[in-house]
């Protein structure tokens, strides 16, 4: 009885998300991220690139386990540890965003290159990007007021998506 609200979010079609990435570009970015750290173009990495390009297109958010299960079902042999290790690298390389859900758990999402933040549905946990934010100067000012050097920030908005609103949260 753990994550009670994730059940209907696992479905293949995730309507409340934007597929606004150019997928060729995404493939390139993922490949570069792997390549930057080490050379080998291995089978698991190819599987990951392919699957992540697909997830970039749909805009769907996924857990580490989701990704592992999907790859394992579709292509066969891949280890959980490889998926964990790859996700870690790709988050580091800014290819993936780690999105905090309202219950404190998290999912990942392939992110476009430009500055954005996340709108998260507290019922189905779908995720949408948006671009509004405070200005860079404002962040600098916030930092200055407390003696911080600011280098990153994260804005997450929680609410109910249109699908869940219509279906009354069911």
């Amino acid at each position: 009885m753990k994550n009670e609200s994730r059940s209907h979010c696992r479905s293949p079609r995730q309507v409340c998300a934007e597929g606004d990435n150019d997928s060729l570009d995404t493939v390139r970015r993922i490949e570069n991220a792997f390549f930057d750290l080490s050379r080998p173009n291995t089978a698991p990495r190819r599987m990951l690139v392919e699957k992540l390009a697909e997830l970039a297109r749909s805009g769907e958010a996924f857990s580490t386990d989701d990704l592992w299960q999907d790859l394992r079902a579709a292509n066969g042999r891949i280890g959980r540890a490889t998926v964990y290790r790859s996700i870690e690298q790709l988050v580091e390389s800014k290819v993936l965003d780690r999105v905090e859900l309202s219950d404190g758990s998290h999912k990942y999402r392939v992110c476009g290159g430009s500055h954005h933040h996340h709108l998260v549905c507290t019922l189905c946990n779908c995720v949408v990007d948006f671009r509004e934010c405070l200005s860079a100067q404002k962040f600098e000012e916030i930092g200055r007021q407390h003696g911080f050097t600011v280098n990153d920030h994260k804005l997450t908005v929680y609410g109910t998506c249109s699908r869940c609103l219509k279906s009354g949260g069911k």
Copy 2:
């Protein structure tokens, strides 16, 4: 037998935080949060109230385990599960904030009543409050643009605090 170690508003190693809560008010708020759910004024709850009031004064952020260890060391007999259960309730009651650190882990912090967000040092993980934010209308607009009904948001800024800057991160 209570340990009155409340004399200083500065915790041993967490200087970069604001102790801006009125502690009497904080005690009241924590007690109410417990009381709202059920009557018993038990020993563990009194221990928690006392310790949390102290943490409110210092502004220090803490993990569940930190809190358990501290209580256990100072006052003796308390179960991990009790601490987990209490923290969960207090987060629900908005007495505690859950703060996401830059590495994806989290800590808790006693929060003042008014609207605020967190500035987190990526080196020492200290946490400071600030009040700047987007306007309520802006959030509504963000929601409207994507068919969401917005009901909450979280803004976290990451950087390096003055202490860590001075010490070069050591």
